[in-house]
């Protein structure tokens, strides 16, 4: 079974695979146990990988360790593997197998047998997402990229077409790698379809990036300046993140609309997404009605969990908004700093030119150069600040809005149930009155109605329970994702900070001797 799969980029063993294998192959079963308790049976396949991890100083147990509630083998496996070299030795040396040979990482991937059995140490080179997916026990192997924005058409009818590339080994797709061209309204159309199908049953559908009339108009008009390229890049990154989030959701991944979006070369134009279309206006009206409803529905919250979570999300929303504002201010100031540093560099160069003491003049021009380089650094820094941090925050603010929407749907569901119950009561009263008034045909009608409403009440109750259950699961998933996302981004940001500082060190160290050389 697993043998049929071409070895995915960096080894792709999953717990499910193990289950499959365990049936037929003791070798692999004992592999599992080897990881849990050190010396048991000779595992030539497993050892080279362990050896490798001993050699390579970069174990990446981080991703896996993130999920606390996974009691599957990966957590343990990783912990075993993540021990320091000295501790690892006993595992290796106690293995009686003579076939242990240090294998380089490349050979680990190539031979199928090793890649299948040793998924744990191979985690090192894999992307985070893949690990998460397999750890969850889902068959996830899908990578989405959005690239190559191209302007199609002219004037006000122009639009940007993006290439959506999918790499996957999932069986539900016809090919393993394919790409299509999509435009922004297609993405919005996808989102509205998914939302209409899943939001009201409690799934948190990731929100699509926002429309921006100003930005798009600039692009349409053809202004080829840095702000419009920035805008296009920002949008491209946002679309990529949107799709990645959507496919991470196990239920949404199964949706045929999503598949159609990713696969089919021609997609019916989603006109309903235009702001001024009939559907758009309807949407706005609905939103207003919803807002009013929210204020009037008073729900008896029987489940404290929901109340607590709602409060939490409210707080989180506020905090994130505040943080977002601060980060945007930082981005702005950094851009300013970069511009000012560039201006100063020029000015210092001029000063160096007019200075008639040669050594000092040279030092001043050097200073100007250093400052110019620092300006470049600051620009990159701003880029990092913005794209990583700020965009993440705005994504999450929108996501939390979606979460709140889901909670609202639950309330509406409850409302429906309540209404059904009330109507049922009324119908029963009506029936009782009929009994007293003794009108047989009306009684029959009343009884029918009662049955109908009883069914509705039951349905309402089931719906409500279903949505509550779904929401719980979704919120749990959301929180996990949130943790992951934030950690990744902040760590990336910090790493870029470190790099910046190291560059700074290099520049100033180069300048120092020049300054000292001023006679």
């Amino acid at each position: 079974m697993a043998a049929e799969r071409e070895p995915p980029p960096l080894g792709d063993g999953k717990p499910t695979d193990f289950e499959d294998l365990e049936d037929g192959e003791d070798l692999f079963t004992s592999t599992v146990s080897t990881l849990e308790s050190s010396p048991s049976s000779p595992e030539p396949a497993s050892l080279p990988a362990e050896d490798i991890s001993a050699n390579s100083n970069g174990p990446k147990p981080t991703e896996v360790v993130l999920d606390d509630d996974r009691e599957d083998l990966f957590a343990e496996a990783t912990e075993e593997v993540s021990l320091d070299s000295p501790e690892r030795e006993p595992i290796l040396s106690s293995e009686p197998s003579p076939a242990v040979t240090p294998v380089t990482p490349t050979t680990l991937i190539a031979p199928r047998i090793e890649s299948k059995s040793m998924s744990a140490p191979v985690i090192f080179d894999r992307s985070r997402e893949e690990i998460e997916e397999e750890a969850n026990g889902d068959i996830f192997d899908i990578e989405i990229g959005v690239s190559d924005p191209e302007k199609v058409g002219d004037g006000m009818n122009a639009y940007m077409a993006y290439r959506v590339t999918t790499k996957t080994s999932l069986s539900m797709f016809s090919k393993s790698e394919f790409s299509v061209k999509r435009r922004f309204s297609d993405f919005l159309g996808l989102h509205s379809k998914l939302a209409s199908k899943y939001l009201h049953v409690g799934y948190i559908v990731p929100p699509a990036p926002e429309k921006s009339i100003v930005g798009m108009t600039k692009v349409k008009v053809g202004k080829e300046d840095s702000s419009s390229t920035e805008f296009v890049e920002k949008r491209r990154a946002a679309l990529e993140r949107y799709l990645q989030r959507t496919v991470k959701h196990p239920t949404l991944l199964q949706d045929p609309d999503l598949r159609q979006f990713l696969e089919s070369s021609e997609l019916p134009r989603a006109v309903n997404t235009q702001a001024l279309s009939g559907a758009g206006i309807l949407r706005m009206a609905n939103k207003a009605a919803d807002a009013v409803n929210k204020m009037t529905i008073k729900m008896n919250e029987s489940d404290a969990w929901f109340e607590e979570k709602q409060q939490q999300f409210e707080n989180l929303d506020q905090q994130l908004r505040k943080l977002h504002v601060s980060v945007e201010a930082l981005v702005c100031h950094r851009k300013e700093l970069s511009a000012n540093t560039a201006a100063f560099a020029k000015s210092a160069a001029m000063l160096g030119n007019s200075e008639d003491h040669t050594a000092l003049s040279r030092a001043l021009s050097q200073l100007a150069e250093v400052e110019e380089k620092i300006d470049q650094l600051h620009q990159e820094h701003a880029f990092a600040d913005f794209y990583m941090f700020s965009e993440l925050l705005s994504d999450y603010i929108r996501l939390i809005a979606a979460v709140k929407g889901v909670f609202d749907h639950r309330m509406k569901c409850w409302q429906k149930w309540e209404d059904a119950q009330i109507t049922l009561l009324k119908k029963r009263e009506a029936e009782a009155k009929m009994m007293v008034a003794n009108k047989p045909d009306k009684i029959q009608q009343a009884k029918n109605e009662i049955r109908e409403w009883e069914a509705k009440v039951q349905q309402g109750e089931r719906d409500f329970e279903q949505i509550s259950k779904t929401i719980r699961k979704e919120v749990g998933r959301f929180e996990k994702e949130r943790v992951k996302d934030f950690k990744t981004v902040i760590i990336k940001y910090l790493e870029s900070l470190v790099q910046t500082q190291q560059q700074l060190i290099k520049y100033w160290e180069a300048f120092l001797p020049e300054a000292k050389a001023i006679a």
Binding site: N57, P59, K60, P61, T62, V65, L66, E79, L83, D84, R128, Q312, L316, Q319, L320, K322, L323, S326, V327, L330, H333, L337, N340, T341, A343, F344, S347, A348, M350, L351, S354, D356, H357, A359, L360, A363, L364, L367, E479, V483, F486, K487, I490, I491, K492, L494, E495, V498, Q499, Q501, Q502, L504, I505, W508, E509, F511, L512, A515, K516, I518
Partner: protein, 431 residues
């Protein structure tokens, strides 16, 4: 939490001690040593305690102190400028007025907005503003001190009587600031002077040295002005970026204190990190301000003083030439010849005296300038390196593994196995 970083209001202390020598290269002279030993900031004025140590016979005691205010410094400076005898010297530029307005405004705004922010935020911002206030204060003290030291180091100016009175007279000098009329007079005088300067500068100088100096100074002055302004702007945006880190840190802290899950611990750590980042960036910008902006500002003023000297010399040259012409005319008419002769001789003497001292002064100016730039640039580079290496590398890098870094570049910065092992140890401890 500090982990070896000097914190808070003292961050200028190391540089402060050498501040008086920062912008000028002075020989400390046992005969006359002046410094500002203390300063007090009251509502809208600053009182400087000027402390003198001298072995000169002119003074009654060997060591004494007086209290002076900014206006009295200006009075002293103006008295030098107006003194004809000193026309041939570069008059040390007057110290700028102590300007706490911006800082005070910010403190006021902070007080008003106290209700709208959390206690931690408030204390943080208050600390920050206090540090800023202190920094400005230290700077203004340093500027005044530099002025006095320059005067004390100058072989001629140090003997000035007004200077001695300034140093010794322990009553109030009753120097009032210029009232409106006088300020208006000053304004007109300046206008006349600059118009005159234009006329006078048209006169080509016979002496190559001075001609060269004139063109050089003109250009240099303009460029220093430009560089100084841009450097100011740069340090200011650097500072506001640092301030932003402060706010981000507090927001993250608020996020982190919401609940005690893993992510919240993470947020707390990151907020700590941003706090440290801010401190470092604030120090970097303060150092830049001190070494670069202040240097440029000072030399802006000095180059203006040098230009003034050149102007005075040109003025006296013109006067001399005019006196020559007058003498010729008088000789031709044979009227008031003696008068014309004496005035011509006076002008000649004045011109030659100015030229001689001006030459020396300008050469000294250059030496001083080169030395000051060298010192400051070297110190700037060293400080930047210190911050980058010590500040960042020391606490930032170990913090990253504590935050569960993804070592996608295992051979880069983190080639350090020890670092990685720490990382893993923390990870295992965390989960």
């Amino acid at each position: 939490m500090m982990e070896g970083l000097d914190d808070g209001p003292d961050f200028l202390s190391e540089e402060d001690r050498g501040l008086k020598a920062i912008n000028v290269d002075l020989q400390s002279d046992a005969a006359l040593q002046v410094d500002i030993s203390d300063a007090l900031s009251e509502r809208d004025k600053v009182k400087f305690t000027v402390h003198t140590k001298s072995s000169l016979p002119n003074f009654k005691q060997n060591e004494f102190s007086v209290v002076r205010q900014h206006e009295e410094f200006i009075w002293l400076h103006d008295s030098f400028v107006e003194n004809e005898d000193y026309a041939g010297y570069i008059i040390p530029p007057a110290p700028p007025r102590p300007d706490f307005d911006a800082s005070r405004e910010k403190l006021q705004k902070l007080g008003e907005g106290e209700g709208s922010m959390t206690k931690e935020e408030f204390t943080k911002m208050k600390q920050e503003l206090e540090a800023e206030y202190l920094a400005i204060f230290k700077k203004t003290v340093a500027m005044h001190e530099v002025f006095l030291c320059r005067v004390a180091a100058h072989p001629i100016l140090r003997r000035d009587l007004n200077f001695h009175v300034f140093l010794e007279y322990n009553q109030d000098l009753s120097v009032r600031g210029k009232n409106k009329k006088e300020k208006l007079e000053d304004f007109f005088k300046n206008m006349v002077k600059s118009a005159d300067g234009v006329i006078v500068s048209g006169v080509k100088d016979v002496d190559d040295f001075f001609e060269h100096e004139r063109t050089f100074l003109l250009e240099y002055h303009n460029r220093v002005k430009d560089a100084s302004a841009k450097s100011d702007r740069m340090t200011r945006s650097h500072k506001s970026a640092a301030d932003d880190y402060n706010r981000i840190g507090s927001s993250l802290y608020a996020l982190g204190t919401q609940d005690s899950t893993d992510i919240c611990k993470f947020f707390l750590k990151v907020s700590e990190l941003f706090d440290k980042t801010r401190k470092i960036e604030a120090r970097v910008s303060a150092d830049e301000d001190l070494k670069l902006s202040d240097l440029l500002k000072y030399y802006l003023r000095e180059s203006q003083a040098a230009k003034d000297l050149l102007y005075r010399r040109s003025r006296s040259l013109v006067d001399y030439e005019n006196a020559n012409k007058a003498l010729d005319k008088a000789r031709a008419k044979n009227k008031d010849v003696l008068q014309a002769e004496t005035s011509q001789q006076l002008c000649c003497q004045k011109f030659e005296k100015i030229s001689e001292s001006a030459k020396q002064e300008l050469i000294d100016f250059k030496t001083r300038r080169v030395a000051a730039f060298r010192k400051n640039l070297v110190e700037l580079a060293e400080l930047e390196l210190k911050h980058a290496k010590r500040g960042w590398a020391q606490w930032l890098m170990p913090l990253i593994p504590a935050l569960e870094v993804r070592s996608s570049r295992p051979q880069a910065n983190m080639g350090n196995l020890q670092l990685l092992q720490n990382c893993l140890a923390v990870l295992n401890g965390d989960t």
